[in-house]
């Protein structure tokens, strides 16, 4: 049974593309056949996060407009041949793709892949409506920040009105020390407001950025808290019951250990 998942947020810059890339690689590492679709036209960056920029020949708009077959436009991941990317265009008009087009495309890809994951643009305009059209599941990414949670709340309402009822939450860029000191919203507050099932709590981790720069998502890197958190999310998506981890605090001893390279 294959699943079409849309990764969305409302607010930009909260980690949609990062999440999409990490879930894609993580699921591929677990042997799943995965295709990622970038629908954030004009702000293409999923290819960068996956280190595939120089391999792009065609894009989503070419496929929708019938210039090439899907198969030809898919870019295969260097390391995981069961992971493919359907990139988007940086130059073409974003209104070129409508909800019905994407729905038809998802249904086509469903036949061959275990997971189709769609990276959604920010906002609730047409791009959002298009991105969610073919999805069975929506993953809403938010951050422990009042404005990001507000936007997530709106997006959840919007998804409900579009009859998308299977909605999961990922809270990204958590800083445990700030949560403890009350400077950041805590997980219970966020879950209380958003009231949807939380499948991931990802700490703020510099390794997310450095690994993205190398084009290798951090998932599965056991030296990274975020890497572990993404691997846990992958497991939960595959139906495993994995408890949420306790974050290490950047306390005195942690810093000391780092200083000595421990």
């Amino acid at each position: 049974m294959s699943e079409v998942i849309v990764v969305t947020s409302g607010k930009g810059g909260v980690g949609k593309s990062t999440t999409t890339a990490n879930l894609g690689v993580g699921l591929a590492m677990r042997g799943q056949k995965v295709v990622l679709i970038d629908t954030d036209t004009g702000l293409r960056n999923l290819d960068l996060l996956l280190g595939l920029e120089n391999r792009i020949m065609y894009d989503l708009v070419d496929v929708i407009e019938g210039r090439v077959e899907i198969r030809k436009a898919l870019v295969r991941h260097k390391k995981f041949e069961n992971l493919q990317l359907l990139p988007t265009s940086q130059v073409k008009d974003k209104s070129a793709v409508n909800p019905a087009d994407l729905m038809a495309l998802c249904d086509e890809l469903r036949k061959e892949y275990d997971y189709v994951i769609i990276d959604c643009p920010a906002g609730i305009e047409q791009g959002f409506q298009t991105a969610i059209a073919g999805a069975d599941t929506a993953i809403v990414v938010t951050m422990p920040e009042v404005s990001a949670v507000r936007d997530a709340d709106k997006i959840i309402g919007e998804l409900g009105r579009s009859e998308k009822d299977n909605i999961k939450l990922i809270i990204n860029r958590i800083r445990p020390a700030m949560v403890d000191s009350g400077e950041m919203m805590d997980m219970d507050d966020i879950n209380d407001i958003l009231a949807i099932k939380c499948i991931g709590q990802v700490p703020d981790d510099i390794k997310v950025v450095t690994s993205a720069n190398r084009g290798e998502p951090v998932v599965g890197d056991n030296d990274s808290q975020a890497g572990k958190a993404y691997a846990n999310i992958v497991g939960r998506i595959m139906g495993e019951d994995i408890p949420f981890m306790e974050f290490e605090k950047e306390g005195f001893f942690a810093k000391l250990k780092k200083a000595f390279g421990m």
């Binding site: 507000r150 709340d153 709106k154 959840i156 309402g157 409900g160 209380d192 407001i193 009231a195």
Partner: protein, 211 residues
Amino acid sequence: MSRDLVTIKGGKDGFRLLVDSSASMEEIEAEIKKKLEENPGFFPEGTKFELEVADLDRSVKKGIDQLLSKHGFGVDKSPKADNHTADNIRGIKKTGQPEQTTVQEMMVLNRTIRGGEEVTSQSSILICGNVNPGAHVIAGGSIDIRGKCRGMVHAGAWGDTNAVIIADRLMPSQIRIANMIARSPDSMEQSDFAERAYIKDGQIVIEPIER
């Protein structure tokens, strides 16, 4: 302050516009304008008001019609006359307040009301779920929230000063009852019990309740 020359009430069949027949057209016009501007965006475009005018002048009726259509509204030309008669208007004159509406319906919602959402009903509203920040709940009657209220709530929105607001946790950004507004303190203390807000001696007061 003198009593209202114009009262807008929510009923089962739509909005009713009650006009004091002793008022002049200028006074009525000013009142209606004020009422509409007090609640911008409150009445959906194209709303038809049922005019309650037992002995209003034809020219005044026409004036009201024109005024409303200027605002994108209209007058319901086929009022269901029977129970809304001149007596109603006299009742208002006496007490200076709209009398209890005959409608005792309640809108019931079993879900979270999320940011950006607006729930409006001319009756009372019962919500089994949270009202989130950025959500608006507007009722002609009272509002009862079986959950946490963090949004904006307006009870008695058409002037019913007897309306109340109840929530398991009352921590809204703003409470309005009839034409009174209470804003939450900038740093909100967490409430640990159910509370009720109502108007007492011309002020919105909040008190804990058992439930």
